[in-house]
């Protein structure tokens, strides 16, 4: 048998008329302001303007120098890698290009440390690492160089990519002939043996 309902009125928080350019909060009441907007007409003057381009990633995560933020450090490393790859694209000789690619490759282990930024981030960095490993020192072709540069630029613009989008970028790398899967365990053991013999 159900109980007789007792109607305890809820304490209503003030629902202040929010200004379109302020972050809403349930605990402030700005109702002392004289309302000036005509009810029902919304004039959008800020971020909601559809034609506005998306925010620059460096502005979104702008931080004082020496910040400990993971994403800020990852963005710095990605910029370094992208710049090296851009230099490689501009290089006159394959030898010079390869030197820049090798410098970009050196940022990958550091970037791997920040894979917790997102699943997409992790899968791309991991795949690039294996792509370089599987090349076994063979220089990137111009197409492969462009693809790696493009994927890293995309990752820098959207570092919190979900896994599915990360996999799509990895497929772009595969389409230009890069092998992104880890080498067989046998190969790894072979490498380890030869390294210990040296």
């Amino acid at each position: 048998m159900s109980e007789t309902a007792i109607n305890i009125p809820k304490v209503q928080r003030h629902a202040p008329p929010q200004s379109p350019d302020e972050t809403g909060t349930p605990t402030t009441n700005r109702s002392e302001s004289t309302p000036s907007a005509v009810r029902g007409i919304v004039v959008e003057t800020h971020g909601a303007t559809a034609i506005a381009p998306v925010i620059e990633i460096d502005r979104l995560y702008e931080a004082p120098p020496g910040t400990s933020s993971q994403i800020v450090r990852a963005l710095e490393l990605l910029k370094q890698a992208i710049d090296f790859l851009a230099e490689a694209q501009k290089s006159n000789t394959p030898m010079e290009a390869d030197r820049f690619v090798q410098r970009a490759q050196l940022t990958l282990p550091k970037l791997f440390a920040y894979r917790s930024i997102g699943d997409g981030f992790g899968v791309i960095i991991n795949s690039l690492h294996f792509a370089f490993t599987n090349l076994r020192g063979t220089p990137l072709t111009p197409d492969q160089l462009n693809a790696v540069w493009r994927v890293l630029r995309e990752l820098r613009a959207r570092p919190v990519l979900p896994l599915e989008q990360g996999i799509q970028r990895v497929e772009e790398l595969e389409e230009c002939g890069l092998e992104v899967d880890p080498p067989d365990l046998g190969d790894l053991l072979e490498d380890a043996e030869s390294a210990s013999n040296e």
Binding site: P9, D21, G24, P26, E56, L60, V160
Partner: protein
Amino acid sequence: MPSALTIDDFKAFSATCELRYKHGYLIFDRTGHVMEDMRESFPDIALSTASPQQTLFTAEEGTFAIELAACRFTSGHLDKNGETFAKHCKTFFDIVTDQFQIAVFTRIGLRNIFRREYKTEDESKQALASMMLANLKPTKRFNSSDSPTEVLFRWEDAQIGATVRLKAETTEIKLNVPAELQESVPKVDKKSIGLTLDIDYYTVAPVEREQWDAQEWLPQKFRIIKKEVDSILQGGAK
């Protein structure tokens, strides 16, 4: 002389993080899914108010609101760097953006409110006037007070904006207890005189979902707010 106050002289009152978006129409279908997903991370979460336009949930951690064009989390339990706050925001916003299939945020805002209590209204007004934030001679204006009792600054470009508002004010907290409960529940009628410091840090340009991580962005902005507000309170020295 610039004020000797720093942000540490104020007590954190609340922090709110709000996401705005254009097409949250799935609010009409998936609010229940949001609630179910939230229960996994916030076991004591309870529905506070529900309407087609806005649903409020409350939990020990704070208040969650979802609306057609915005969602927000407000908490009064704040750690210094906002890391716990950021963790709760990430959980909540990930659920809402997944369920409502939001791809772009038209605005992301972090609003931090601090309070410093004074014994009298005059003291709080004097404290605000002593900061000399507005370059105005103290004289009666608009047939009202000698000095402004509220000062608001806004900085904004095409990507990022911020407001800092300081107000000498008396805050009233009233809880009207129903007549039948008045014997067992004490009536609440509290007045607090002081300075309110209200900072709103927000994005102006749209943000794609794949760009933004609450757990990275929020603690970073907590630090920036502290640094910039200290500088403003100290008379603008960087």
